[in-house]
């Protein structure tokens, strides 16, 4: 029996050609939602044994090692992303390593859609749909931020800077809404360049 065909939320949407940023759906990442107590040493070491690194404990941070990325979601929740084909195996290894330790690891690879955004206008485009100011200095590579974006629950991870690459995650049923919102707000000619040098303004 072969694996069933996968149709992601955004696979049938067209990308307009008048955008100020590059936008695509990330389809090859799997996701595991991991819950556990941050002061439970058994839990932390079991997770480390499987992942090869410590779960990030700093709020709004992420740890990336090899093909694994672990995002801090809250004090007792993490989202681990990995190559989609490895998800079932990684999930099984986590469940096994965690054993009786109070924890919950769930494969949620299809629960969210990931939209990859790339370019100089990413931050200001997101600021048209969210009250988070991504131009503040703390928003460096690796930062994770959960937020309301385009009036829906969303989360962003800064993959790298210069050029900016962001991954926007929204629940699957909202994916097309977030996609359409970005298409509407990232149109050429509508960019906002917040702060920074500019032409001298008119004066009286």
């Amino acid at each position: 029996m072969s694996e069933a065909l996968m149709i992601t939320a955004l696979s049938e949407l067209d990308l307009p050609n008048n955008l100020t940023l590059k936008m695509s759906e990330v389809v090859d990442r799997g996701m595991i939602d991991l819950r556990g107590l941050p002061d439970d040493k058994k839990f932390l070491s079991a997770a480390k044994k499987v992942l090869g690194f410590d779960l990030p404990r700093t709020p709004r941070s992420s740890t990336e090692q090899g093909e694994l990325v672990c995002l801090w979601m809250s004090v007792d929740q993490w989202l681990i992303t990995c190559p989609r084909k490895q998800t079932a195996d990684l999930h099984a290894r986590l469940v096994e390593a965690l054993g009786d330790t109070h924890s919950l690891a769930v494969n949620v690879s299809d629960a969210r859609s990931i939209i990859r955004l790339e370019g100089e206008t990413v931050r200001e485009t997101l600021m048209k749909g969210s009250s988070i100011d991504f131009t503040q200095p703390e928003f460096t590579a690796g930062t994770v931020r959960r937020m309301s974006f385009a009036e829906v629950a969303a989360m962003v991870r800064i993959v790298s800077e210069e050029p900016d690459v962001f991954e926007l995650m929204v629940f699957r049923s909202y994916a097309h809404h977030a996609w359409d919102w970005i298409c509407a707000t990232a149109k050429e000619g509508s960019g906002v360049s917040f702060l920074g040098a500019r032409e001298s303004p008119a004066t009286v």
Binding site: A4, A9, S103, V152, F194, T203
Partner: protein, 1015 residues
């Protein structure tokens, strides 16, 4: 001159007059349909002056001709409509409309034309239209207000008209944070920005005008030994180069809210529609969170009301000077100046220097001395001190000023004695300055009255907000700069990475000015008093007499006076009229102005577009529509949609000529006779795991779950603390201490939050994790006698036999290459399964089900057939049978309400007398006497039918359908003591006098023994 009647000959040549226009670049525009030309840099107001047009609109109530009064956003009079059709925008201030090629503008509230207006009759009969006229006159008969009076009044009174259709332009919003937000880009704002940005702080400085500099170009004085304009230019340029500063023009700070949340309205493309075509939004609404805000909003010049002071050509003094120096236009050929302060002398001198005659400076003060008066005298201008304007003569119709009359004015406010008539065609008025305290006041800022300025000034604000410069009542140039620097530097230190301070404020020089003498009202004299009006609020046509009348009629509080007379309630929010109105009230009541108090300053500072409030949220982005993985398939196959929560679910799938009813009936019979499939992906799904998971479920549900064995499921009910039913669903045990809860579609997020709240705030000792997984799974119901046969055709490792998977069993496996969870549950009463597969496989799996079921006649069914199927079986639906006031016991669900468990949410509440009362409404079934009669949803049952209400109501219909299975109507209802009334006939009086009778029966209409699902 003949082409440009009021444009002074030297306009645009040199830097003295017309400094903002370029006479080499002509701009064509249309006014009331006629072609005119102006220059690049003109506003609509200045271009109209240049073309000899002084009447730009008709007033709100009396339809009097009106012209330009102010220089910018303070303009109360010259409201115009710009654009046409669905692009037309009403009520824009002509002084703020920038001229562009092809601009179309028109006058408002005028019929048939602005030059000849029939409504002017109102003015002739104006003595019959006093304050409160509408309240007093149109009282009777009551029904006439809505149908007769109001439509007529609305047509005659009012401002511009709304645009003709949907707005094709785009709007958007932008959110940001900053260390320092500076409101206003005049000298004070620029200096504060300079000081604040020196520390490295993130600074936003916003000004509502197209240029920075406020009125620095017409205010005189010098900064660092150069004209103010040079300093302004250099400072703004330096700020533009800074990496940490954001400069904004055409951006009005419209509101200040809690915690320094500030809303700004940026007019991105109004001045240049070409920007729209290149993708720019028309307006952008900024939502800024500022650590500190500095208000440098300047001051508003106030007029002095005198007889017929609304005639076109009566303008504020700085407006006359600004129009002259910026655009090279004058409001006429021969002006008079009416003032109580020194600044207006600058206007007189500037006019004469530009070649416009000034007939007289009329100063209410007994003496005029000081450098500005001397300069005016040197320019040969005649000055009359201790005098006031007591009359104004205009041409018939009031469009052209001919002369003013002046008379001696005593400090006590009396005008009497020898009069003199002065020929002139315009009047520049200055009654002093009101600090623009609006932004300071929006979020509760308080005011103090300054006797020297005769105006209100801000008291220190509770928010991290500081008002500086003229907005703070500080008028000396050097004092303004020092105040701005101090505020800017202090603000800059709010940055996390603040560097060293800004240094010393620049040095400035300005001429000294004498104190003003307060004057709120120059009454008309003698017979001129008859029929003359002294306008306080131009935009709402409120006169000094109206305010006095309101006092006489007992509207003593200023808030009552405001609402009775509409003073300050127009689109300008009383910018020019507010303090003057208070002054008039002070004079008529004998109370000091501070005793009278002010009315409330509310956002917005100026009107701004509804489009910017909507922002990106319009059309398909107005509100999210959540889509399941099979959403597109439903759409492609003719689904009629039903919104459930934010989801769109297929309601039914009409085929060919079928209407909805036919489709629903077909889909129901397919499930009853063959097999149907339903997209149930929207059902809430929550994984619950931990040593205390079973105990948690026992507290959340009314029935017991801790006894549930792995691989088994149970239907459960949830109550809130008040004992009311609020969600239901099947929870299955996946493994030891590991459960999967199903909730209603609309309840998914609410229930997840409910569980977290109990765990995080009340039962913190419980070891349980809760993870919502609704979006991970596509879930489909396969229901009908052929359901098992269909599933057995699928390739996979799941055994669907009744032995391996009995009713309420659950199993995991792989089906058609998909990881699958199979639940044998039924909401239709038929043999039924629900299968969950990962969402990205959902569409493929759905199509596999259809393919495998083809030989059995499978069809998809929608939410309406789902509801009829469950109603035939007497299954309740949350939100139909429950409405937040219904307990599980009311619904006869006693079997699911544990009597053994020690406690669970809502248990105690069920003991309360009103919930255990035997007279409560109980769920019953209804069969109408006429089987073809379907009761309306929500229909009331009454104890006894009477000719007309009121009748004693004994209950209401909760679900009502046509059942194709039973070929008759069925309904469920909550009826007082319903279960003890089995077999009774009750009546439902409907609209139109019809009464439907129905028999009370069991709510289970079909397959009462449940044989169909146990196969």
């Amino acid at each position: 001159m003949s082409n440009n009647p009021y444009r002074v000959p030297t306009a645009g040549i040199g830097d003295d007059v017309g400094r903002l226009i370029d006479p080499k670049k002509q701009i064509d525009f249309r006014w009331n349909g006629n072609k005119f030309a102006g220059f690049e840099g003109d506003t609509l107001a200045s271009a109209l002056f240049a073309n000899g047009i002084r009447v730009v609109g008709r007033s709100f109530k009396y339809h009097r001709p009106r012209g330009v009064v102010g220089l910018a956003s303070d303009e109360p009079n010259a409201l115009v409509g710009v654009g046409s059709g669905n692009l037309q925008e009403p009520n824009l201030r002509a002084s703020q409309v920038e001229l562009y090629q092809g601009l179309e503008a028109k006058a408002q509230n005028a019929w048939p034309s602005v030059d000849f207006d029939i409504g002017q009759m109102n003015s002739i009969f104006s003595r019959f239209f006093p304050a409160g006229f509408y309240y007093k006159t149109f009282m009777w008969p009551q029904s006439f207000w809505k149908n007769v009076y109001e439509p007529i009044i609305r047509r005659a009174a009012g401002l511009g008209v709304a645009p003709g259709g949907a707005d094709p332009d785009t709007y958007e919003q932008f959110n940001c944070h900053c260390d320092v937000l500076i409101v206003g880009g005049g000298v004070a704002g620029l200096a504060a920005a300079q000081a604040a940005s020196a520390s490295g702080a993130r600074v936003i400085i916003a000004d509502e005008n197209p240029q920075f500099g406020g009125i620095g170009d017409i205010a005189g004085g010098s900064i660092e030994n150069q004209p103010q304009t040079a300093w302004i230019r250099e400072t703004a340029a330096a700020l533009a180069q800074a990496e940490n500063v954001h400069l904004m023009t055409r951006t009005t700070v419209v509101g200040h809210y809690h915690h320094n949340f500030v809303m700004m309205h940026e007019r991105v493309a109004d001045h240049d529609p070409a920007l729209l075509r290149s993708g720019a939004p028309r307006h952008r609404l900024w939502k800024v969170r500022a650590k500190k805000s500095i208000v440098a909003s300047g001051a508003l010049e106030r007029p002095i009301p005198f007889a017929n002071n609304d005639r076109p050509g009566v303008m504020l003094s700085t407006s006359v000077r600004g129009h002259l120096i910026r655009y090279g236009v004058a409001p006429g050929y021969r002006g008079t100046i009416f003032t109580n302060n020194d600044d207006a002398y600058r206007t007189a001198t500037a006019l004469v220097q530009a070649g416009v005659s000034v007939a007289r400076i009329i100063d209410v003060r007994p003496e005029a001395n000081g450098p500005l008066a001397e300069e005016a005298e040197k320019a040969g201008i005649q000055i009359s001190t201790g005098m006031a304007i007591c009359g104004l003569e205009a041409s018939v119709g009031g469009k052209q000023i001919k002369s003013v009359r002046i008379a001696p004015y005593s400090g006590s406010g009396r005008v009497s004695g020898a009069e003199e008539e002065i020929r002139c065609d315009f009047v520049a008025v200055s009654g002093g300055w009101n600090p623009a305290v609006h932004i300071h006041c929006h979020n509760g800022g308080k005011l103090d009255f300054d006797e020297g300025l005769q105006s209100f000034v801000p008291r220190p604000h509770d928010d991290p907000m500081q008002t500086i410069g003229a907005a703070n009542g500080t008028f000396g140039l050097q004092a303004i700069l020092q105040e701005a620097y101090q505020a800017g530097e202090a603000g800059g230190q709010s940055s996390k990475s603040a560097k060293a301070g800004a240094g010393k404020a620049p040095a400035a020089e300005s001429v000294s000015e004498n104190a003003l003498q307060p004057i709120w009202f120059a009454p008309a004299t003698g017979k001129y008093n008859e029929g003359n009006k002294h306008f306080i609020d131009y935009q709402n046509d409120v006169t000094a007499a109206d305010l006095e009348l309101a006092q006489r009629e007992g509207f003593e509080s200023v808030e009552h006076t405001k609402r009775y007379t509409t003073l300050g309630m127009a689109t300008d929010q009383g910018k020019t009229s507010n303090i003057v109105g208070l002054g008039v009230l002070s004079g008529s009541t004998g109370k000091a102005i501070p005793e009278i108090g002010t009315t409330t300053f509310r956002p917005p500072y100026t009107p701004f577009s509804l489009g910017s409030i909507a922002g990106t949220q319009k059309g398909s982005l107005f509100h999210v529509v959540r889509r399941t993985a099979v959403f597109d398939w439903h759409g492609e196959n003719g689904a009629v949609w039903e919104p459930i929560g934010d989801w769109r679910r297929a309601y039914c799938y009409p085929r060919g000529d079928e209407d909805k009813h036919a489709a629903i009936n077909r889909e129901i019979l397919t499930v009853r006779e063959k097999v149907g499939i339903l997209d149930a992906s929207t059902l809430g799904k929550i994984e619950i795991k931990g040593p205390d998971a079973g105990a948690l479920l026992d507290r959340i549900y009314t029935n017991t779950f801790s006894t549930l064995k792995p691989g088994r499921g149970r239907y459960g009910l949830m109550m809130n603390e008040m004992g009311f039913l609020f969600d239901d669903g099947v929870t299955v045990c996946l493994a030891e201490s590991h459960y999967l809860m199903h909730t209603t579609s609309g309840g998914a997020e609410r229930i997840a939050a409910w569980l977290e709240e109990w765990l995080q705030t009340e039962w913190t000792d419980m070891q349980v994790f809760v993870t919502p997984v609704t979006e991970q799974w596509s879930q489909f119901a396969i229901a009908g006698p052929k359901a098992r046969a269909l599933l057995e055709k699928l390739e996979g490792d799941v055994d669907f036999s009744p032995e391996a998977l009995p009713f309420m069993g659950c199993v995991a496996g792989t089906i058609e290459g998909c990881q699958a969870r199979v639940f044998r549950i039924s909401f239709s009463g038929e043999l039924s399964y629900e299968i969950a597969v990962p969402s990205n496989n959902g569409r493929v799996f759905w199509e596999k089900l259809l393919e495998a079921g083809e030989e059995f006649g499978v069809e998809p069914y929608g939410t309406e057939p789902l509801h009829v199927l469950r109603a035939e079986k007497g299954f309740i639906a949350i939100g139909d049978e429950s409405d937040g006031t219904v307990t599980p016991l009311d619904l006869g669900l006693n079997w699911a309400v544990s009597k053994k468990k020690a406690d669970y949410i809502g248990k105690r509440a069920l003991e309360l007398p009103h919930l255990s009362d035997e007279n409560r409404k109980e769920l019953v079934g209804l069969l109408t006497d006429d089987p073809n009669e379907v009761l309306p949803d929500g229909a009331y049952a009454v104890a006894q039918v009477k000719d007309k209400p009121p009748m004693d109501m004994i209950g209401q219909v909760t679900s009502t359908y046509w059942s194709p299975t039973l070929n008759r109507s069925i309904a469920m209802a909550l009826i007082e003591k319903g279960r003890s009334r089995m077999g009774e006939k009750i009546s439902f009086p409907l609209e139109g006098g019809k009464t439907v009778k129905a028999e009370i029966v069991s709510p289970v209409f079909y397959d009462q023994e449940g044989a169909r699902q146990n196969v």
